[in-house]
């Protein structure tokens, strides 16, 4: 996206390195002279139109989706109990897993030779499509004909923080931009007074990957995910201090930005431009965010559909907020709901007590979101993605001899579902082996999923790049294939 000539790039970098200091030594003017004529540099600095980094930009080609709502089930929901029934696994429940299968495997917690664990929960064929979905998710069963279930997901990471970061940024170490940041970098935002990338968090804890999962990495920081809180002040410090009226705040921001523009003229540093835009957006958010958060204004039947609890920080509230955000032009809304990590060390994290609870916390609202978008005629243009950072083992973890049923982390096979935004509805893609250990049909790597999401939003994932440290980085690193078979 950087259209600057090498000379302009050099000039921009020079200004960052304190042009004034260099000029003071007399070196600066020599350096500039060799790269750019005085006239040209002056012209460029003056003539550079103030560009808002969040101004809407077209993608590479016509998109199917205008926005993404990612329902990130942090902790890794158990696919074998929710989306991928395995009759053979059920038959061999309680038997030790054949050793050749786990030969050389590294587990997060499992030791020795674990026993196979069939699902204690049941599944049903649903809708006209006949999609098979777990009975712990009765509301999701109702949208069986709207979703595409991918059972062949696989990843390289088996611990939460690196896996969450990997899923979001394409690399397991923090420091790279998240998918939301890439998309807002590519598209800007249609929402004049709201951020283009918003994060909403619910559940007992924050995602293990921390803020890196919705960070901007090396992209300009304006593309970072903005976390909205559903309790208390929706955005910290959105309200002015006592004694500062809206008019006073407007007047102070005018002064700040006028002075910043004077500095921008002298230095040409694009970060100043970003700061000017940030302050303008901050001002607009002071009124747009409270309005957005007023879910009380939604009709009663909408509240019943989602199962919202006004005033509390629930997943259901966040789903409704997500719909409101995409209505107002936000491009990427990411919801995190923590608590799926069903290791089975106690009844707080097992398959019998805890898993149904997490399902109860999220099933209704996730399905409601799809139903609501469909009802409003928005589902074709909004891509909803549901899933976690890896899967769970077909074996019982039995950590320290625990009597509770649970599964350890499993990167080799897991399930996600997608709805809307150009994805084929009412279909399943990919399959795992009879024990649910590995993918045997149509494997989908994280990079493939991300390539597909970018494709639906109108981007060739190999061409949405940013030059950093001399390399053109992209979300999918050097990998990724678009899943054309699941596109409508």
């Amino acid at each position: 996206m950087d259209n600057l000539t090498p000379e302009q790039l050099a000039l921009r970098d020079l200004t960052r390195r304190s042009l004034l200091k260099m000029a003071g030594y007399g070196i600066g003017s020599l350096a500039l002279g060799s790269m750019l004529s005085e006239e040209a540099s002056a012209k460029w600095l003056d003539g550079q139109k103030r560009t808002d980094p969040m101004a809407p930009k077209p993608p590479h080609f016509a998109p199917k989706a205008k926005a993404v709502i990612n329902l990130f089930m942090a902790g890794a929901p158990s696919q074998l109990d929710l989306f991928d029934p395995k009759p053979v696994l059920q038959e061999h429940d309680g038997e030790p897993i054949p050793e050749e299968i786990i030969q050389g495997e590294r587990f997060a917690f499992i030791k020795g030779v674990p026993k196979l664990l069939g699902s204690p929960h049941t599944f049903s064929k649903c809708g006209e499509s006949g999609q098979v979905i777990g009975d712990l998710l009765p509301h999701t069963q109702e949208i069986a004909d709207d979703i595409c279930i991918i059972r062949s997901m696989h990843t390289d990471q088996f611990n939460h923080a690196p896996a969450q970061i990997f899923m979001n940024t394409g690399h397991q170490l923090p420091g790279r931009p998240s998918i939301g940041a890439w998309l807002t970098y590519g598209l800007g935002s249609e929402a004049y007074d709201l951020p283009g990338f918003v994060v909403l968090i619910s559940g007992d804890n924050s995602p293990d990957g921390g803020k890196a999962v919705y960070g901007c990495g090396f992209l300009p920081s304006v593309y970072q995910g903005v976390e909205f809180r559903s309790q208390g002040d929706p955005v910290l410090f959105v309200s002015n201090p006592d004694g500062v009226s809206d008019a006073a705040r407007r007047s102070s921001i005018d002064a700040i930005n006028d002075l910043n523009r004077m500095r921008l003229k002298r230095l040409g540093d694009p970060e100043i431009d970003t700061r000017i835009s940030s302050y303008e957006l901050a001002y607009r958010m002071q009124s747009s965010v409270p309005e957005l958060m007023e879910i009380d204004t939604e009709p009663q039947e909408v509240h019943e559909l989602y199962g919202t609890t006004p005033g509390e920080a629930t997943f259901a509230n966040n789903c409704l907020l997500a719909r409101r955000l995409v209505e107002r032009g936000t491009r990427f809304v990411q919801l995190y709901h923590w608590g799926w990590d069903s290791h089975g060390t106690s009844d707080y994290d097992d398959l019998i007590t805890s898993l149904p609870l997490r399902c109860k916390q999220t099933d209704q609202a996730a399905a409601a979101l799809v139903k609501d978008l469909k009802r409003m005629g928005m589902l074709d243009e909004v891509l909803v993605v549901w899933g976690g950072e890896f899967g769970r083992t077909p074996m019982n973890e039995e950590r320290n001899g625990s009597k509770f049923k649970g599964r350890d982390h499993h990167p080799h096979a897991f399930s996600v579902w997608m709805a809307g935004g150009g994805v084929k509805p009412g279909v399943a893609y990919g399959a795992t082996d009879e024990l649910g250990y590995s993918v045997v049909e149509n494997p989908v790597h994280i990079h493939d999923l991300n390539a597909t999401i970018l494709h639906l939003m109108g981007f060739d994932h190999t061409r949405l790049t940013y030059r950093h440290l001399g390399r053109d980085f992209r979300l999918t690193d050097v990998y990724g294939n678009v899943l054309h078979d699941i596109l409508a």
């Binding site: 920081s221 009226s245 008019a247 102070s252 500095r263």
Partner: protein, 121 residues
């Protein structure tokens, strides 16, 4: 040498509205009132230098003087807001009116939010 890593609307809202920054603004306003300058431009130069070390040029100074005048007019018309802003019990400088103190607090709030103040070179 690197720029401030966060350059987002959230950061803007924090440095504009967080009580910690407002307290700093009140402190800076008090210094501007106590610095011995007799004119608005003089006080502005003092505050500006405290934030970014250098002196403001004519254009910058003039813009900040207009801001002060605008805020002074606002707070002379709204005594309640002025009192709330300066948090009366923290006290200001003898001889400065509540409206003047409030107006200088807003100028200080602006100075503390300049890109040049926030960015460490």
């Amino acid at each position: 040498m690197s720029r401030e890593p966060t350059n987002t609307p959230l950061q803007a809202l924090t440095t504009l509205n967080d009580e910690a920054f407002m307290r700093a603004a009140r402190g800076l306003a008090r210094r501007m009132l106590e610095c011995g300058a007799k004119t608005a431009a003089g006080r502005i130069e003092h505050g500006f230098r405290r934030c970014v070390v250098r002196r403001p040029d004519a254009e910058e100074s003039s813009r900040l003087v207009s801001l002060y005048r605008e805020e002074l007019e606002r707070y002379e018309a709204d005594g309640e807001a002025a009192k709330a802003l300066i948090k009366q019990d923290e006290g200001y400088v003898d001889g400065a009116t509540v409206a003047e103190s409030a107006a200088w607090t807003m100028v200080a709030n602006v100075l503390l939010n300049l890109d040049e103040t926030i960015t460490k070179e």
